[in-house]
């Protein structure tokens, strides 16, 4: 009995507040937009008996999904989200790997402090960390003032409200997610392997390519997924740092819902976004599982 209660309470909570909401999203994605409250049709009316339930189901259709394919805003937004996520994941890897490598090579008594310094920004508000770049990247911002002072440029660069600012924001906010798994892979590495490679005639660089990189592969894969998956649905970064030319699906969904008040289309956008995410999520879980099996 006690076991039953223990299982039932969190189970029912998640069914009520996680699973059922999804069914509702799916249902509204199949409905039509209407000038009503709530603004979609048909409404399910159980009091009408079987007939009304049958007519309810017959009125659902895939019209909104067709609409998403006809208006090129949507597939462009999906593609551009994927492209931005891919490019910024690569950038984050290039920035994060040397930091993780340096941390793993630092003296052991320094490592806990360095680790804390990487985790600390993660506890600070995401919104504030994105906002901090607005003042730096604007036309009269510190970066432009600095570059003008150096004499590298003659007139301020437009960085804020472009995709470049979005990339900077993503690399900055998601960097800890990349550093931590790579660091934990590198820290476990046995250094005698590198020495063996060098004894056998490898140069330092080729020992790095042939030994260090393959051994940190799982960390790299985990880090990339931890950045890539959430970036696809990102909303805050493109809306604060990006411009009107920055197309990301999270922003489109937000505007579809709050500005256009088209709930059925917003729901259809959400359903497709979820279908796109299922693939990287399954790949990520396979990688995690492989790693767990390899460890024990």
């Amino acid at each position: 009995m006690r076991r039953f209660v223990l299982i039932a309470v969190p189970y029912l909570w998640l069914v009520a507040l996680f699973l059922i909401p999804f069914v509702i999203v799916l249902k509204i994605a199949l409905s039509d937009v209407a000038l009503a409250r709530p603004p979609y049709l048909p409404q399910l009316d159980i009091t009408g008996g079987w007939d009304s339930i049958r007519t309810f189901f017959s009125e659902l259709d895939f019209e909104n999904f067709w609409f998403l394919t006809t208006d090129d805003l949507y597939w462009k937004a999906y593609l551009s989200s994927l492209q931005i996520a891919l490019f910024s994941t690569t950038l984050t890897l290039l920035v994060g790997y040397p930091i993780a490598y340096g941390m793993a090579r630092a003296a052991p008594e320094w490592r806990p402090t360095l680790l804390m310094l990487v985790i600390l920004p993660f506890w600070t508000s995401f919104l504030i960390r994105v906002y901090a770049w607005m003042g730096i990247l604007s036309n009269e911002g510190l970066l432009n003032q600095f570059l003008l002072w150096l004499g590298v440029i003659n007139e301020p660069l437009t960085i804020l409200n472009t995709n470049a600012a979005v990339y900077i924001g993503i690399v900055y906010t998601y960097l800890p997610f990349m550093i931590l798994p790579i660091y934990s892979a590198l820290e476990r590495m046995d250094d005698s392997l590198l020495e063996a490679a060098e004894d056998l005639g490898c140069s330092r660089l080729s020992a790095f390519w042939l030994v260090t990189i393959p051994l940190s592969k799982n960390g790299i894969i985990a880090g990339c997924f931890l950045v890539f998956i959430p970036v696809i649905g990102e909303f805050v970064i493109p809306s604060l740092l990006g411009g009107s030319g920055t197309l990301m699906i999270g922003k489109v969904l937000w505007e579809e819902f709050f500005s256009n008040r088209d709930w059925p289309v917003a729901s259809a956008v959400a359903v497709i976004l979820l279908l796109i995410l299922v693939i990287p999520i399954i790949l990520f879980q396979r990688n995690e599982q492989k790693q767990r099996e390899a460890e024990g």
Binding site: I7, Y11, W13, L14, L17, A106, Y131, L240, G250, I281
Partner: protein, 272 residues
């Protein structure tokens, strides 16, 4: 190994400069006398004063704190239960669905979570406000809590619990007297994680709130959409300060606890 070369030193210096410079600049400019946030016009604390007189920010901060305390506390209870079920309850029908529902919210885009919860609240006719934000935050943060707690539960010796049961404890007593003290650090860090997730959340709160409840992130977002403002710099500085003090204190406490535990274990091993 100690191959600490100039390359590593440069990577670390540049890396940490990149991570910390923006926040340091933000803190410095919060003490700027000028309304123009990019021109330095001398030291001043006027923006802090204006912030403290701004009723809207204060009431938003109060709402945020209330939501965070309530949702992280409920999430810790539910998340610990869920972790216990995942690790200890063995097989039961619907277990795959259960673990799926625990892990899915961790990777779910916030816009989808927010949208789906809002549609649920409208569907059942629940008035949107503090209650709905608490429900929403509890749901996604309980999953984080259960991941943190279950990783601790997996690593701890089940025979301790069984010994307590053999010695006549009821299952609940065994949990309270044996399991809970051992997993307490994970439960506390789960609570802290849930608390910060709630404090930080903009997207889900924006979807699930009504006109009666505005949280601090919603307020900040609508203010900074129009551009940089010195009041927000001051507010950010206060928040960064609180987090820094909190994280450093927490890490010192865990370090001390680890040292104490190591000492006790050494004492226990020493022959009497």
């Amino acid at each position: 190994m100690t191959r600490f070369s100039w390359f590593n030193a440069t990577a670390l210096t540049l890396g940490f400069a990149f991570l910390y410079m923006p926040m340091i600049i933000l803190v410095i400019y919060s003490f700027n006398a000028s309304k123009l946030v990019t021109v330095w016009a001398g030291f001043s604390t006027q923006w802090y004063g204006e912030l403290l007189r701004n009723e809207e920010f204060l009431s938003a901060a109060w709402v945020t704190l209330k939501v965070a305390v309530m949702s992280s506390t409920i999430a810790t209870v539910l998340g610990t239960m869920a972790a216990y079920v995942l690790v200890r309850a063995g097989r039961f029908s619907g277990r795959t669905l259960f673990s799926g529902m625990i892990y899915a919210p961790l990777v779910m885009p916030e816009v989808i979570t927010g949208l789906s919860l809002l549609l649920l609240f409208i569907g059942i006719g629940l008035d949107r406000g503090v209650l709905t934000i608490v429900l929403a935050h509890t749901t996604f943060s309980m999953c984080y809590v259960s991941v943190v707690v279950s990783s601790r539960l997996v690593s701890f010796d089940k025979s301790l619990e069984e010994a307590a049961l053999d010695l006549g404890c009821s299952p609940f007593e065994a949990f309270r007297l044996v399991t809970l003290p051992i997993i307490a650090p994970a439960v506390i860090s789960g609570w802290l994680l849930a608390f910060t997730l709630s404090l930080d959340d903009l997207v889900i709160a924006s979807f699930t709130t009504g006109p009666s409840a505005t949280t601090l992130p919603i307020k900040i977002f609508s203010a900074v959409r129009l551009g940089v403002s010195p009041e927000i710099n001051a507010l950010s500085t206060i928040m960064i300060g609180i987090v820094t003090v909190g994280v450093i204190t927490a890490s010192l406490i865990t370090k001390q606890a680890a040292v104490r535990q190591a000492r006790e274990e050494r004492m226990a091993e020493r022959p009497a």
